[in-house]
């Protein structure tokens, strides 16, 4: 394990600082989730339970906004599951990198979300014998988990003081945050066409199918392009 210590120390500092930044950025959105939860009829414990137990922002927002727009509890649950399907793909991608087992694995599974996966994959998988990828995943996952829950609590209890989250540009902030996450993953022309294809399919379907489904349908682009390109190589 004799890697160059100075290089690893510098890389480690950079990763931890990025993870903290992501936690802070996500916390801005967590405040608005907490506020949204309690303004749409959930109690503070119910809103907190979503952040602590579900812990996947898009699913949480989908569940709460489906309930708010008059959807049944069952519709809201199914929409949140559909939105959470991508975490299965993230988990599948991260498992061979993380190499965890036992209780550590159960925690890693819960921390597998957009941000932690994107940060884990943004590192060179070979760098420092995989330690860079693992640290990026864990540091981001834990930072987001702590700050997301703290922010949810603050938003839920101080709902009247927040006002309209849109007037603070929070909806634009989350779009930009997701964009900044996918940006470093786009490394080839194929990646770029998958990104555009996924975005276009989601936009085409958004007006005609229930919330959550457009994003899931975008997965088909990855399946088709992945299948075609890997066949061409072999």
């Amino acid at each position: 394990m004799n890697t160059v210590p100075t290089e690893w120390n510098a890389a480690r500092r950079q990763i931890v600082s990025n993870a903290a930044s992501i936690g802070v950025a996500v916390a801005m959105y967590g405040v608005s989730f907490g506020a949204l939860g309690t303004t749409t009829g959930l109690t503070i414990p119910q809103t907190m339970a979503l952040s602590l137990l579900m812990f996947t922002g898009a699913s949480q927002f989908t569940l709460v906004s489906t309930l708010a727009s008059g959807g049944t509890a069952l519709t809201a649950v199914i929409a949140s599951w559909l939105m959470g399907t991508r975490n299965a793909a993230y988990s599948m991608r991260m498992t061979p990198i993380l190499k965890t087992s036992g209780p550590g694995k159960l925690v890693a599974v819960q921390l597998t979300i957009d941000e932690s996966t994107a940060m884990g994959l943004a590192q060179d998988e070979e760098a420092f014998e995989g330690r860079a990828s693992r640290l990026a995943f864990w540091a981001t996952g834990l930072s987001v988990y702590l700050l997301w829950n703290l922010a949810t609590f603050i938003g839920a209890v101080s709902v009247s003081a927040i006002g309209d989250p849109k007037s603070f540009g929070l909806d634009a902030a989350i779009a930009a945050g997701l964009f900044a996450l996918v940006w470093p993953q786009i490394k080839s022309r194929t990646d770029l066409s998958v990104a555009f294809g996924g975005a276009l399919i989601a936009l085409a379907l958004a007006p005609i199918v229930p919330p959550g489904v457009p994003v899931l349908a975008a997965a088909m682009v990855a399946v088709i392009v992945g299948w075609v390109t890997s066949r061409r190589i072999s």
Partner: protein
Amino acid sequence: MWFAVLAGAAGCYALKYVGSVIPAHVLEQPTVKKIVLLLPISLLSALVAVQTFASSQSLVVDARVPALAAATVALKFKSPFILVVLIAAVTAAALRYFGLAV
């Protein structure tokens, strides 16, 4: 409401768990490998599109679009994550405050 909260949370954890127990050799097939690599790209891009243009079930062009354009410029200049997010938030908030966009 507790039903929705707990059933939703249980299902989302199960989905995360299922992904982690798919056998390793499945991942080593070139097609599966490629698809799994591309999945986060297509899903995150779709989320960006929906977060930028969708308003419940309709598509709109509002303050989020110029905000995302500003974020793109920031990304081109390799700005740190927090700066990209702040630039987008400030752009949208300013446009709304001055009544230039909804």
